[in-house]
């Protein structure tokens, strides 16, 4: 069965001004490029081709509460309940208006719990009908007339609120807050990540309606951050609203991280909040307003040397990894929802996480080599210059496995971090402050601008194998706990 309910995602369509609203302007020349110098691209083997494959509806999907970090969720359904697309499945204990909704119509078949009965998964079996809960429709031209309150209640009711996240802390945005600005994350530089520009091609109308809706949520601006070379109709033109601002970024990873964008466009200080949203979710928001339905569509790119067919696959939120990949699971491979730098090891039987749009499959680590510290290492990949491979200028894609390549040690080489962090922070001193629980010092050093993912490359490069991002995350958790 082909998915009939999908919105018209057709990146191969010719982008042009014809189908775009008349008030749109040509962008490009206006927008200055923010050049990111620090960082590095890991050219991993297994990039996806720019080709879209439409998948059948999966048999099962899962909503996974751990995807929504920092929020206490409780169940709104029990095993055996029948749900539609848009039926609330989970709600926020602290703000019951916020719910996560079902992406399919069908029956709740399992509720999986972990230690201390923590909710891990709500598994829903699809009935193939994709019946939807009908929400109120708001034609695009009416949106400028709607009030902030109306917009918020519409987002909450339609179940798309969780796509809005806040910085600091990277968790679902608070309903009672007005952010100082909203960032639309329309580029991704993580290894093998999706080309967001390609994803948005042919989606100008929905994307721009979504931006108009977001503009209603803040007193400040909506900042759309995308790659310098972006050429899709959604990003090549923009609405003339003065609240929507466009920023072009260029440079190595983490030039595409939302943290990098916030730091260079509108940095957060203590007591301030910005929100951010993935570009694809902007389409979801627009769809809710214009058509009155929760759109479960998600495009996931399958990457890594462990996958044969590496393309863009159009599926739905919460789809199983095995369904998306469509190949027999291989042994000794690691199945990651997300990229190798920030993703989660979900296993071949797992499900794609809520905010992810990528599956990476790489060889599992754990091989032992004789005298690894002494050999020249022609085939070793390292940012350092301590292997013979650094003498050969290889432009080839590299094959990396999930190995730590060394034991944990105390930090000795403290100068390796800053070259790979694109924020203006002193990583080593921030680490020390976070480790010692010195909240005040950590805040002065800029921890509130940071998130785990901004330090992924620093963790990668550390010869002492320190989990830099993890320490920053613990520091942030401590700050959140202490209020």
């Amino acid at each position: 069965m082909r998915l009939k309910w999908c919105e018209g995602f057709n990146p191969n369509a010719k982008s042009g001004l014809k189908d775009v609203r008349p008030y749109l302007k040509k962008r490009k020349s206006f927008v200055e490029v923010i050049q990111i110098k620090k960082g590095k691209d890991i050219k991993l083997k297994g990039a996806a081709e720019k080709q879209v494959e439409e998948l059948d509806l999966p048999k099962q999907v899962a909503i996974q509460p751990p995807d929504f970090r920092g929020v206490r969720l409780r169940l709104r359904v029990k095993e055996g309940d029948v749900v539609k697309v848009g039926t609330p499945v989970l709600e926020d204990k602290d703000c019951t208006q916020v719910h996560v909704v079902s992406p399919v119509s069908g029956k709740v078949v399992a509720i999986n719990r972990g230690e201390k009965r923590a909710l891990l998964q709500v598994v829903i079996e699809t009935d193939g009908k994709q019946e939807t809960v009908a929400f109120k429709k708001h034609p695009a031209e009416n949106i400028p007339l709607m009030s902030h309150k109306e917009i918020v209640s519409c987002l909450l009711e339609g179940g798309v609120w969780p796509v809005l996240r806040q910085r600091p802390f990277s968790k679902i945005a608070r309903v009672d807050q007005k952010p100082k600005s909203i960032f639309v994350h329309a580029m991704n530089t993580e290894p093998l990540a999706m080309d967001v520009d390609y994803r948005l091609n042919g989606q100008a109308k929905g994307f721009h309606t979504g931006l108009d809706i977001l503009a209603k949520l803040t007193e400040g601006s909506v900042h759309v951050c995308f790659h310098k070379e972006a050429s899709s109709d959604a990003l090549a033109n923009f609405p003339s609203s003065s609240k929507i601002k466009y920023h072009r970024f260029d440079g190595p990873h983490p030039a595409g991280n939302v943290g990098t964008h916030i730091h260079h466009v509108d940095p957060v200080h203590k007591g301030e909040f910005v929100w951010f949203v993935e570009a694809e979710d902007v389409l979801r928001i627009a769809k809710l307003f214009v058509e009155g339905v929760f759109s479960p569509v998600k495009v996931v790119v399958t990457t890594g040397e462990g996958v044969e067919k590496r393309v863009y696959k159009k599926t739905i939120i919460g789809a199983p990894v095995s369904h998306i990949i469509g190949e027999a699971a291989k042994s000794n491979m690691r199945y990651i929802s997300g990229s190798v730098l920030t993703g989660i090891n979900v296993g071949a039987q797992g499900y794609v996480c809520f905010y992810d749009s990528q599956i990476t499959v790489i060889p599992e680590g754990g091989k032992r080599e004789i005298l690894g510290w002494a050999l020249p290492g022609l085939n070793k990949y390292s940012f350092s210059k301590t292997f013979a491979s650094s003498l050969i200028n290889k432009n080839e894609d590299v094959s990396l496995d999930a190995d730590e390549h060394g034991g944990h040690r105390a930090i000795v080489f403290n100068s390796v971090y800053d070259d790979y962090v694109a924020l203006d922070v002193m990583t080593y001193f921030l680490l020390k402050a976070a480790l010692s629980g010195d909240i005040e010092e950590a805040e002065r050093l800029g921890i509130l601008e940071c998130d785990e993912e901004d330090f992924a490359l620093a963790t990668f490069a550390c010869p002492s194998k320190t989990d830099v991002g993890g320490i920053i995350r613990e520091g942030l958790d401590l700050i959140e706990k202490e209020g």
Binding site: H269, G365, S415, M426, F460
Partner: protein
Amino acid sequence: MKKLAKLFEKGGKLEKLYPLYEALDTFVLTPGKATKKAPHVRDAADLKRMMVFVVIALIPATLMGIYNAGCQIQSFKGGDCSLLSCFGVGLMQVLPIILVSYMAGGFWEVLFAVVRKHEINEGFLVTGLLYALVLPPTIPLWQVAVGISFGIVIGKEIFGGTGFNVLNPALAARAFVFFAYPAQLSGDAVWVAVDGFTKATPLAVVAGAGKGGSAIAALAEAGYSFKDMFVGFIPGAIGETSTLACLVGLVFLLITRVASWRIVAGCALGLVGTSLLFMCFQGENSLTFFSLPPHWHLVMGGFAFGAVFMATDPVSASATNTGRWIYGVLIGVLVVLIRMVNPAYPEGVMLAILFMNVFAPLIDHFVVEGHIKKRLAYIEGKKG
């Protein structure tokens, strides 16, 4: 292998000796541990690799030191001065010092790792060799052991171990033996391993020369040429005599980016600048040292060795880029100040570096405060 591993793992009979097992095990084979969470892939370089590279960088200085120690003995005794015999004689003299340093230091490292239940840090491979190379070849072996014990325990472990030490442990050890056993560590009699033989080091020659004279002339009179000092055929501590060998090590460390070029450049800059300044104030009644040109300063004493291998220890040095410049320059300045203005002891590298080790956190404090101010200004600026 797996059976052996079980003995040392949790619940095994030798559980307590796990750090020792881990060190030996990962010496032979890479740990082969899969990552637990993101980032799922990691850089191939680990601390073992980085530390081994410092040891490799020390090889030229070690070999030259061994050869020179032998050469000094043979040339005094008038014996066979061939490469092989000099090296052999030197090896007999130097190898026991290196071995004792490693054994005594290693004992403490393992002991603390076992008690504290953490892995043995490879930094010890560097400390043990560095310490041996800054000793005179005549030092009694028990003093080698006492010194390294002090360096490791008081210089490093009481602060919490590797990564937390304020002082460079090898230099702390050297400073301890220097002040505890001055008779064996200073003077003119300790640099050549022949009983009763005294020969002043170049620095001592200049320090001892009469006022207002030419330093280069005094050195020439004592039989020291620039070339000898650069290549390293002079009496001195084992590894420090050859500036050439240190430079080879430096090039290696800079190509592999293991050492900070800022620190080394800072040291050289500070030394050259200060000695030039003193040259400007040279007068008839000034000390002979005032007439010593900067490039002679660079090849004398332990400066090259200290700047390349000791000052660049990332843990005890400044941890900010601006701080590294300041730290390096001040080491250079202090080396010249101690050499020239302090009449008691002409060699100032060890004390200059230790002094700056103590000040490095203070330098970093001001650099970090400056950074915080700049950050706040940036955020405020973005608002406007």
